[in-house]
Protein backbone atom coordinates (compact mmCIF):
# COMPACT_ATOMS: atom_id res chain seq x y z
CA UNK A 1 0.00 0.00 0.00
CA UNK A 2 1.22 3.45 -0.74
CA UNK A 3 -0.23 6.87 -0.09
CA UNK A 4 0.89 10.33 -1.07
CA UNK A 5 2.45 12.05 1.91
CA UNK A 6 3.87 15.46 2.55
CA UNK A 7 7.64 15.68 2.79
CA UNK A 8 10.04 18.45 3.64
CA UNK A 9 13.17 18.15 1.51
CA UNK A 10 16.41 19.74 2.72
CA UNK A 11 18.94 20.72 0.09
CA UNK A 12 22.12 20.46 2.15
CA UNK A 13 24.16 22.01 -0.65
CA UNK A 14 22.33 25.29 0.13
CA UNK A 15 21.69 25.11 3.87
CA UNK A 16 24.21 26.99 6.02
CA UNK A 17 22.97 25.62 9.32
CA UNK A 18 21.97 28.80 11.11
CA UNK A 19 18.85 26.99 12.19
CA UNK A 20 15.90 29.29 11.53
CA UNK A 21 13.82 26.33 10.39
CA UNK A 22 14.44 24.50 13.66
CA UNK A 23 12.82 27.41 15.50
CA UNK A 24 9.79 27.37 13.22
CA UNK A 25 9.42 23.58 13.24
CA UNK A 26 10.75 22.36 16.60
CA UNK A 27 8.33 19.39 16.42
CA UNK A 28 10.18 18.03 13.38
CA UNK A 29 13.65 19.53 13.38
CA UNK A 30 16.45 19.87 15.89
CA UNK A 31 19.97 21.14 15.32
CA UNK A 32 22.89 18.75 15.01
CA UNK A 33 26.38 19.21 16.49
CA UNK A 34 27.15 21.86 13.87
CA UNK A 35 23.78 23.59 13.71
CA UNK A 36 22.28 21.88 10.68
CA UNK A 37 18.66 20.72 10.86
CA UNK A 38 18.04 17.05 11.72
CA UNK A 39 14.74 15.28 11.46
CA UNK A 40 13.65 11.69 11.05
CA UNK A 41 14.38 10.69 7.45
CA UNK A 42 17.61 12.55 6.62
CA UNK A 43 17.03 14.97 3.80
CA UNK A 44 13.35 14.04 3.30
CA UNK A 45 11.27 14.48 6.41
CA UNK A 46 7.69 13.31 6.71
CA UNK A 47 5.37 16.17 7.65
CA UNK A 48 2.12 15.24 9.42
CA UNK A 49 -0.95 17.13 8.15
CA UNK A 50 -1.18 19.24 11.30
CA UNK A 51 2.26 20.73 10.66
CA UNK A 52 1.79 21.50 6.97
CA UNK A 53 1.30 25.20 7.64
CA UNK A 54 4.38 25.56 9.82
CA UNK A 55 6.41 23.58 7.28
CA UNK A 56 5.29 25.96 4.55
CA UNK A 57 6.40 28.88 6.75
CA UNK A 58 9.84 27.29 7.16
CA UNK A 59 10.10 26.91 3.38
CA UNK A 60 9.11 30.54 2.82
CA UNK A 61 11.40 31.93 5.50
CA UNK A 62 14.55 29.90 4.85
CA UNK A 63 16.98 32.60 3.74
CA UNK A 64 18.83 30.27 1.39
CA UNK A 65 15.85 28.53 -0.26
CA UNK A 66 17.18 25.24 0.98
CA UNK A 67 13.77 23.78 1.82
CA UNK A 68 11.09 22.35 -0.41
CA UNK A 69 7.71 20.90 0.46
CA UNK A 70 6.33 18.19 -1.78
CA UNK A 71 3.89 15.33 -1.98
CA UNK A 72 5.61 12.03 -2.45
CA UNK A 73 4.28 8.55 -2.92
CA UNK A 74 6.45 5.93 -1.32
CA UNK A 75 5.59 2.28 -1.49
Amino acid sequence: MSRAQLELHIDFTRCDGRGLCTEILPELLVRDDWGYPVGRGGRDIHVPDGLAGAAQDAVDLCPLQALMLRRVTRS
Partner: protein, 403 residues
Protein backbone atom coordinates in the same frame (compact mmCIF):
# COMPACT_ATOMS: atom_id res chain seq x y z
CA UNK B 1 49.98 -1.85 -12.30
CA UNK B 2 49.36 -5.21 -13.86
CA UNK B 3 46.35 -6.92 -15.26
CA UNK B 4 45.51 -10.51 -15.70
CA UNK B 5 43.48 -11.58 -18.66
CA UNK B 6 42.18 -14.97 -17.78
CA UNK B 7 41.21 -17.35 -20.49
CA UNK B 8 37.45 -16.81 -20.39
CA UNK B 9 36.72 -20.39 -21.39
CA UNK B 10 38.45 -21.41 -18.20
CA UNK B 11 35.68 -19.56 -16.40
CA UNK B 12 32.97 -21.03 -18.59
CA UNK B 13 32.05 -17.60 -19.94
CA UNK B 14 32.45 -15.58 -23.10
CA UNK B 15 34.42 -13.07 -21.13
CA UNK B 16 35.02 -9.36 -21.52
CA UNK B 17 38.69 -9.74 -22.43
CA UNK B 18 38.41 -12.20 -25.31
CA UNK B 19 39.89 -9.82 -27.91
CA UNK B 20 43.66 -10.28 -28.06
CA UNK B 21 44.41 -6.59 -28.62
CA UNK B 22 42.16 -3.52 -28.30
CA UNK B 23 41.69 -2.81 -32.03
CA UNK B 24 38.53 -3.26 -34.08
CA UNK B 25 39.78 -6.22 -36.15
CA UNK B 26 40.64 -8.18 -33.04
CA UNK B 27 37.36 -7.18 -31.39
CA UNK B 28 35.30 -8.36 -34.35
CA UNK B 29 37.34 -11.53 -34.65
CA UNK B 30 36.50 -12.33 -31.04
CA UNK B 31 32.86 -11.26 -30.89
CA UNK B 32 31.66 -10.67 -34.45
CA UNK B 33 30.06 -7.42 -35.57
CA UNK B 34 27.75 -5.39 -33.41
CA UNK B 35 24.15 -6.26 -34.29
CA UNK B 36 22.50 -2.95 -35.14
CA UNK B 37 18.82 -2.05 -35.17
CA UNK B 38 17.89 -2.71 -31.53
CA UNK B 39 14.79 -0.87 -30.42
CA UNK B 40 13.70 -0.17 -26.90
CA UNK B 41 11.22 -2.96 -26.09
CA UNK B 42 13.18 -5.94 -27.43
CA UNK B 43 16.37 -4.74 -25.73
CA UNK B 44 14.44 -4.20 -22.50
CA UNK B 45 13.05 -7.72 -22.65
CA UNK B 46 16.45 -9.24 -23.38
CA UNK B 47 18.11 -7.30 -20.57
CA UNK B 48 15.40 -8.21 -18.11
CA UNK B 49 15.71 -11.88 -19.01
CA UNK B 50 19.50 -11.66 -18.66
CA UNK B 51 19.32 -10.35 -15.10
CA UNK B 52 22.24 -8.00 -15.79
CA UNK B 53 22.76 -5.69 -12.80
CA UNK B 54 24.77 -2.48 -12.86
CA UNK B 55 28.50 -2.82 -12.24
CA UNK B 56 29.14 0.75 -11.10
CA UNK B 57 28.28 0.27 -7.44
CA UNK B 58 24.56 0.36 -6.76
CA UNK B 59 23.82 -2.90 -8.61
CA UNK B 60 20.52 -1.61 -9.98
CA UNK B 61 18.98 -3.87 -12.67
CA UNK B 62 20.16 -2.62 -16.08
CA UNK B 63 16.74 -3.06 -17.70
CA UNK B 64 14.99 -0.93 -15.09
CA UNK B 65 17.33 1.96 -15.71
CA UNK B 66 16.62 1.68 -19.41
CA UNK B 67 12.88 1.46 -18.79
CA UNK B 68 12.95 4.56 -16.57
CA UNK B 69 14.45 6.79 -19.25
CA UNK B 70 11.84 9.22 -20.46
CA UNK B 71 11.06 9.66 -24.15
CA UNK B 72 12.32 12.66 -26.09
CA UNK B 73 15.93 12.72 -27.30
CA UNK B 74 17.64 11.27 -24.23
CA UNK B 75 21.34 11.54 -23.54
CA UNK B 76 23.26 8.33 -22.85
CA UNK B 77 26.42 8.40 -20.76
CA UNK B 78 29.03 5.68 -20.33
CA UNK B 79 30.56 6.26 -16.91
CA UNK B 80 34.15 5.11 -16.54
CA UNK B 81 35.19 7.70 -13.94
CA UNK B 82 36.03 5.09 -11.36
CA UNK B 83 36.62 7.61 -8.57
CA UNK B 84 37.50 4.87 -6.06
CA UNK B 85 41.26 4.98 -5.80
CA UNK B 86 41.45 1.19 -5.52
CA UNK B 87 39.27 0.53 -8.55
CA UNK B 88 41.16 -0.30 -11.74
CA UNK B 89 38.68 -2.46 -13.61
CA UNK B 90 37.04 0.26 -15.70
CA UNK B 91 40.43 1.59 -16.76
CA UNK B 92 41.52 -1.96 -17.61
CA UNK B 93 38.35 -2.54 -19.58
CA UNK B 94 38.60 0.73 -21.50
CA UNK B 95 42.19 -0.02 -22.34
CA UNK B 96 41.77 -3.63 -23.38
CA UNK B 97 38.23 -3.72 -24.73
CA UNK B 98 37.17 -0.19 -25.70
CA UNK B 99 35.06 -1.48 -28.59
CA UNK B 100 32.95 -3.61 -26.29
CA UNK B 101 32.10 -0.55 -24.20
CA UNK B 102 31.40 1.52 -27.33
CA UNK B 103 29.19 -1.26 -28.71
CA UNK B 104 27.16 -1.14 -25.51
CA UNK B 105 26.92 2.63 -25.57
CA UNK B 106 25.86 2.74 -29.24
CA UNK B 107 23.36 -0.09 -28.75
CA UNK B 108 21.77 1.56 -25.70
CA UNK B 109 21.70 4.85 -27.59
CA UNK B 110 19.99 3.27 -30.59
CA UNK B 111 17.42 1.60 -28.40
CA UNK B 112 16.34 4.78 -26.61
CA UNK B 113 16.66 7.04 -29.65
CA UNK B 114 19.44 9.04 -28.07
CA UNK B 115 20.34 12.50 -29.27
CA UNK B 116 23.79 12.46 -27.73
CA UNK B 117 26.29 9.89 -26.51
CA UNK B 118 28.99 10.60 -23.96
CA UNK B 119 31.87 8.65 -22.55
CA UNK B 120 33.18 10.02 -19.27
CA UNK B 121 36.50 8.66 -18.05
CA UNK B 122 39.86 9.69 -16.63
CA UNK B 123 42.60 11.30 -18.72
CA UNK B 124 44.45 7.99 -18.66
CA UNK B 125 41.64 6.18 -20.49
CA UNK B 126 40.48 8.70 -23.07
CA UNK B 127 43.28 8.49 -25.71
CA UNK B 128 42.70 4.76 -26.23
CA UNK B 129 38.95 5.28 -26.51
CA UNK B 130 39.54 8.07 -29.03
CA UNK B 131 41.65 5.74 -31.14
CA UNK B 132 38.98 3.06 -31.00
CA UNK B 133 36.30 5.55 -32.04
CA UNK B 134 38.34 6.65 -35.05
CA UNK B 135 38.55 3.15 -36.48
CA UNK B 136 34.88 2.23 -36.14
CA UNK B 137 32.79 1.68 -39.22
CA UNK B 138 29.49 2.70 -37.60
CA UNK B 139 31.09 6.11 -36.92
CA UNK B 140 29.15 6.94 -33.77
CA UNK B 141 29.32 10.50 -32.53
CA UNK B 142 30.53 10.10 -28.97
CA UNK B 143 31.66 13.08 -26.94
CA UNK B 144 34.59 12.18 -24.71
CA UNK B 145 34.65 14.02 -21.40
CA UNK B 146 37.52 13.89 -18.93
CA UNK B 147 36.69 12.90 -15.36
CA UNK B 148 38.85 14.31 -12.59
CA UNK B 149 40.54 11.69 -10.42
CA UNK B 150 38.38 12.38 -7.37
CA UNK B 151 36.40 9.99 -5.21
CA UNK B 152 33.05 11.68 -5.84
CA UNK B 153 33.56 12.31 -9.58
CA UNK B 154 31.61 9.25 -10.70
CA UNK B 155 28.44 9.93 -8.70
CA UNK B 156 25.54 10.19 -11.18
CA UNK B 157 24.60 13.83 -10.58
CA UNK B 158 28.30 14.79 -10.46
CA UNK B 159 28.73 13.24 -13.91
CA UNK B 160 25.83 15.24 -15.34
CA UNK B 161 27.21 18.37 -13.66
CA UNK B 162 30.68 17.70 -15.13
CA UNK B 163 29.21 17.34 -18.64
CA UNK B 164 27.27 20.58 -18.34
CA UNK B 165 29.62 22.80 -16.37
CA UNK B 166 32.98 21.06 -16.16
CA UNK B 167 32.65 20.74 -12.38
CA UNK B 168 32.26 17.18 -11.10
CA UNK B 169 30.32 17.97 -7.92
CA UNK B 170 27.11 16.18 -6.94
CA UNK B 171 23.85 18.11 -7.03
CA UNK B 172 20.83 17.99 -4.83
CA UNK B 173 18.46 15.62 -6.56
CA UNK B 174 14.95 17.00 -6.74
CA UNK B 175 14.29 15.01 -9.90
CA UNK B 176 15.73 11.73 -11.13
CA UNK B 177 18.21 12.03 -13.98
CA UNK B 178 16.23 9.41 -15.92
CA UNK B 179 13.61 12.11 -16.37
CA UNK B 180 15.68 15.28 -16.11
CA UNK B 181 19.43 14.91 -16.38
CA UNK B 182 21.85 16.34 -18.91
CA UNK B 183 20.48 19.76 -19.90
CA UNK B 184 17.13 18.81 -18.47
CA UNK B 185 16.80 15.91 -20.89
CA UNK B 186 16.05 12.32 -19.94
CA UNK B 187 19.41 10.69 -19.28
CA UNK B 188 20.61 7.11 -19.14
CA UNK B 189 23.85 6.62 -17.26
CA UNK B 190 25.55 3.25 -17.14
CA UNK B 191 28.91 2.14 -15.87
CA UNK B 192 31.26 1.10 -18.71
CA UNK B 193 31.40 -2.53 -17.53
CA UNK B 194 27.60 -2.68 -17.52
CA UNK B 195 27.62 -1.44 -21.13
CA UNK B 196 30.22 -4.03 -22.13
CA UNK B 197 27.96 -6.78 -20.74
CA UNK B 198 24.99 -5.15 -22.47
CA UNK B 199 26.90 -5.36 -25.75
CA UNK B 200 27.32 -9.11 -25.25
CA UNK B 201 23.70 -9.64 -24.21
CA UNK B 202 22.67 -7.80 -27.40
CA UNK B 203 24.87 -10.20 -29.41
CA UNK B 204 24.36 -13.56 -27.80
CA UNK B 205 21.17 -13.17 -25.78
CA UNK B 206 20.03 -13.52 -22.19
CA UNK B 207 20.41 -17.30 -22.04
CA UNK B 208 24.03 -17.08 -23.04
CA UNK B 209 24.66 -14.41 -20.42
CA UNK B 210 23.15 -16.64 -17.76
CA UNK B 211 25.43 -19.53 -18.71
CA UNK B 212 28.00 -17.92 -16.41
CA UNK B 213 27.37 -17.06 -12.77
CA UNK B 214 24.38 -18.05 -10.66
CA UNK B 215 20.65 -17.40 -10.88
CA UNK B 216 21.09 -14.72 -8.21
CA UNK B 217 24.11 -13.09 -9.86
CA UNK B 218 24.26 -14.05 -13.54
CA UNK B 219 27.15 -13.30 -15.90
CA UNK B 220 30.69 -12.42 -14.98
CA UNK B 221 32.03 -9.48 -12.97
CA UNK B 222 35.28 -7.61 -12.83
CA UNK B 223 37.08 -7.23 -9.52
CA UNK B 224 39.98 -4.93 -8.66
CA UNK B 225 42.10 -6.75 -6.12
CA UNK B 226 44.51 -4.78 -3.93
CA UNK B 227 45.99 -4.52 -0.46
CA UNK B 228 47.97 -7.38 1.11
CA UNK B 229 48.13 -9.48 -2.07
CA UNK B 230 51.11 -10.50 -4.21
CA UNK B 231 49.91 -8.39 -7.17
CA UNK B 232 47.06 -5.97 -7.86
CA UNK B 233 45.15 -7.89 -10.50
CA UNK B 234 41.93 -7.08 -12.24
CA UNK B 235 40.04 -10.38 -12.21
CA UNK B 236 37.01 -11.51 -14.18
CA UNK B 237 35.04 -14.06 -12.23
CA UNK B 238 31.60 -15.64 -12.59
CA UNK B 239 28.84 -14.03 -10.52
CA UNK B 240 28.24 -15.77 -7.22
CA UNK B 241 31.86 -16.89 -6.88
CA UNK B 242 33.12 -16.88 -3.30
CA UNK B 243 35.77 -14.51 -2.03
CA UNK B 244 38.09 -17.50 -1.70
CA UNK B 245 37.66 -18.29 -5.42
CA UNK B 246 38.20 -14.70 -6.49
CA UNK B 247 41.27 -14.29 -4.27
CA UNK B 248 42.76 -17.48 -5.68
CA UNK B 249 42.03 -16.38 -9.26
CA UNK B 250 43.99 -13.24 -8.43
CA UNK B 251 46.91 -15.22 -7.07
CA UNK B 252 46.29 -14.37 -3.41
CA UNK B 253 46.35 -16.91 -0.59
CA UNK B 254 43.08 -16.60 1.36
CA UNK B 255 44.51 -18.19 4.52
CA UNK B 256 47.01 -15.33 4.84
CA UNK B 257 44.19 -12.81 5.21
CA UNK B 258 42.15 -11.66 8.20
CA UNK B 259 39.47 -9.83 6.24
CA UNK B 260 38.65 -8.30 2.87
CA UNK B 261 36.96 -4.97 2.33
CA UNK B 262 34.27 -5.69 -0.25
CA UNK B 263 32.77 -2.97 -2.45
CA UNK B 264 35.35 -0.27 -1.85
CA UNK B 265 35.50 2.53 0.69
CA UNK B 266 31.70 2.72 0.84
CA UNK B 267 31.62 -1.02 1.31
CA UNK B 268 31.98 -3.41 4.23
CA UNK B 269 34.56 -5.77 5.73
CA UNK B 270 34.09 -9.50 5.34
CA UNK B 271 36.08 -11.59 7.85
CA UNK B 272 38.01 -14.75 6.93
CA UNK B 273 35.33 -17.08 8.32
CA UNK B 274 32.97 -15.85 5.58
CA UNK B 275 35.32 -16.30 2.62
CA UNK B 276 33.27 -19.24 1.34
CA UNK B 277 29.99 -17.35 1.06
CA UNK B 278 28.92 -16.19 -2.40
CA UNK B 279 30.18 -12.69 -3.16
CA UNK B 280 26.69 -11.28 -3.65
CA UNK B 281 24.49 -8.87 -1.73
CA UNK B 282 22.38 -11.80 -0.55
CA UNK B 283 25.32 -14.03 0.31
CA UNK B 284 27.02 -11.30 2.35
CA UNK B 285 23.84 -9.74 3.77
CA UNK B 286 24.84 -10.33 7.38
CA UNK B 287 27.93 -8.20 6.81
CA UNK B 288 26.05 -5.56 4.84
CA UNK B 289 28.49 -6.11 2.00
CA UNK B 290 27.84 -6.37 -1.72
CA UNK B 291 30.28 -6.51 -4.62
CA UNK B 292 29.40 -2.95 -5.70
CA UNK B 293 31.93 -1.85 -8.26
CA UNK B 294 34.09 -4.88 -7.49
CA UNK B 295 36.77 -3.34 -5.30
CA UNK B 296 38.41 -5.88 -2.97
CA UNK B 297 40.98 -4.70 -0.43
CA UNK B 298 42.77 -7.52 1.38
CA UNK B 299 43.95 -7.17 4.98
CA UNK B 300 46.68 -9.58 6.10
CA UNK B 301 46.52 -11.47 9.37
CA UNK B 302 48.48 -9.56 11.95
CA UNK B 303 47.59 -6.15 10.56
CA UNK B 304 45.40 -3.88 12.67
CA UNK B 305 41.97 -3.57 11.04
CA UNK B 306 41.19 -0.46 13.03
CA UNK B 307 44.24 1.39 11.83
CA UNK B 308 43.41 0.47 8.24
CA UNK B 309 39.79 1.55 8.76
CA UNK B 310 40.71 4.85 10.42
CA UNK B 311 42.93 5.70 7.46
CA UNK B 312 40.08 5.01 5.05
CA UNK B 313 37.60 7.13 7.02
CA UNK B 314 40.09 10.00 7.02
CA UNK B 315 40.39 9.62 3.25
CA UNK B 316 36.58 9.64 2.93
CA UNK B 317 36.38 12.77 5.06
CA UNK B 318 38.92 14.49 2.85
CA UNK B 319 36.93 13.40 -0.21
CA UNK B 320 33.81 15.24 0.92
CA UNK B 321 32.88 17.75 -1.75
CA UNK B 322 32.30 20.14 1.19
CA UNK B 323 28.94 21.29 -0.08
CA UNK B 324 26.74 19.81 2.64
CA UNK B 325 27.31 20.66 6.31
CA UNK B 326 26.65 17.24 7.88
CA UNK B 327 29.11 15.66 5.42
CA UNK B 328 31.68 18.45 5.66
CA UNK B 329 31.76 18.36 9.49
CA UNK B 330 30.45 14.89 10.32
CA UNK B 331 32.93 12.84 8.30
CA UNK B 332 36.06 14.46 9.80
CA UNK B 333 34.47 14.00 13.24
CA UNK B 334 33.99 10.26 12.55
CA UNK B 335 37.55 9.99 11.27
CA UNK B 336 38.91 11.59 14.43
CA UNK B 337 36.97 9.20 16.66
CA UNK B 338 38.21 6.17 14.70
CA UNK B 339 41.77 7.45 14.86
CA UNK B 340 41.48 7.84 18.61
CA UNK B 341 40.22 4.26 18.94
CA UNK B 342 42.98 2.99 16.64
CA UNK B 343 45.58 4.89 18.66
CA UNK B 344 44.47 3.01 21.74
CA UNK B 345 42.93 5.81 23.74
CA UNK B 346 41.33 4.36 26.86
CA UNK B 347 37.94 5.95 26.43
CA UNK B 348 35.17 3.36 26.20
CA UNK B 349 32.61 5.91 25.03
CA UNK B 350 34.45 6.39 21.73
CA UNK B 351 32.80 3.34 20.17
CA UNK B 352 29.28 4.60 20.85
CA UNK B 353 30.31 8.08 19.73
CA UNK B 354 31.39 6.64 16.38
CA UNK B 355 28.00 4.88 16.12
CA UNK B 356 26.17 8.07 16.99
CA UNK B 357 28.01 10.11 14.36
CA UNK B 358 27.39 7.43 11.75
CA UNK B 359 23.68 7.66 12.50
CA UNK B 360 23.77 11.45 12.46
CA UNK B 361 25.28 11.86 8.98
CA UNK B 362 23.29 9.11 7.27
CA UNK B 363 20.87 10.42 4.65
CA UNK B 364 21.97 14.01 5.19
CA UNK B 365 23.87 14.96 2.06
CA UNK B 366 23.04 15.66 -1.55
CA UNK B 367 24.76 12.42 -2.51
CA UNK B 368 25.31 9.08 -0.77
CA UNK B 369 28.82 9.88 0.37
CA UNK B 370 27.86 10.33 4.04
CA UNK B 371 25.69 7.18 3.93
CA UNK B 372 28.43 5.07 2.39
CA UNK B 373 31.01 6.44 4.81
CA UNK B 374 28.73 5.73 7.78
CA UNK B 375 28.15 2.19 6.54
CA UNK B 376 31.88 1.63 6.37
CA UNK B 377 32.37 2.96 9.91
CA UNK B 378 29.66 0.65 11.28
CA UNK B 379 31.15 -2.29 9.44
CA UNK B 380 34.61 -1.56 10.86
CA UNK B 381 33.25 -1.34 14.40
CA UNK B 382 31.28 -4.56 13.91
CA UNK B 383 33.78 -6.81 12.15
CA UNK B 384 36.68 -5.65 14.33
CA UNK B 385 34.67 -5.54 17.54
CA UNK B 386 37.21 -7.62 19.47
CA UNK B 387 39.94 -5.23 18.38
CA UNK B 388 37.78 -2.26 19.37
CA UNK B 389 37.33 -3.72 22.84
CA UNK B 390 41.04 -4.45 23.15
CA UNK B 391 42.04 -1.00 21.93
CA UNK B 392 39.67 0.77 24.29
CA UNK B 393 41.30 -1.25 27.07
CA UNK B 394 44.73 -0.15 25.90
CA UNK B 395 45.79 -3.21 23.88
CA UNK B 396 45.82 -4.21 20.23
CA UNK B 397 45.03 -7.80 19.27
CA UNK B 398 46.91 -7.50 15.99
CA UNK B 399 50.10 -6.50 17.70
CA UNK B 400 49.60 -8.97 20.56
CA UNK B 401 50.09 -6.38 23.18
CA UNK B 402 49.89 -2.70 23.78
CA UNK B 403 49.02 -0.35 20.99
Amino acid sequence: MTEMTLDPRQLGTGGLFTAAVPDLASHEAAYGRRPSGWTRSPLLRELEASGLAGRGGAGFPAWRKLAAVGAGRPAVIANGAEGEPLSRKDTALLRQAPHLVLDGLVTAGEAVGASELFLYATAESLPGVGQALAERRDGPRVTLVEAPAAFISGEASAVVNALETGTALPRDKAARIARSGYQGRPTLLHNVETLAHLALVARYGAQWFRSAGTADDPGTRLYSLSGDVPAEWVVEAPGGASLRDVLRLGGAEPSSLAAVLVGGFHGAWVPAEAFDLPLTARGLARYGASPGAGVLLALARGRCGLQASAGIVRYLAESSARQCGPCMFGLPAMATVLERIAAGERAPWLASEAERLAGLVTGRGACHHPDGSARFVRSSLGVFKDEVRAHLAGACTAHHGRV
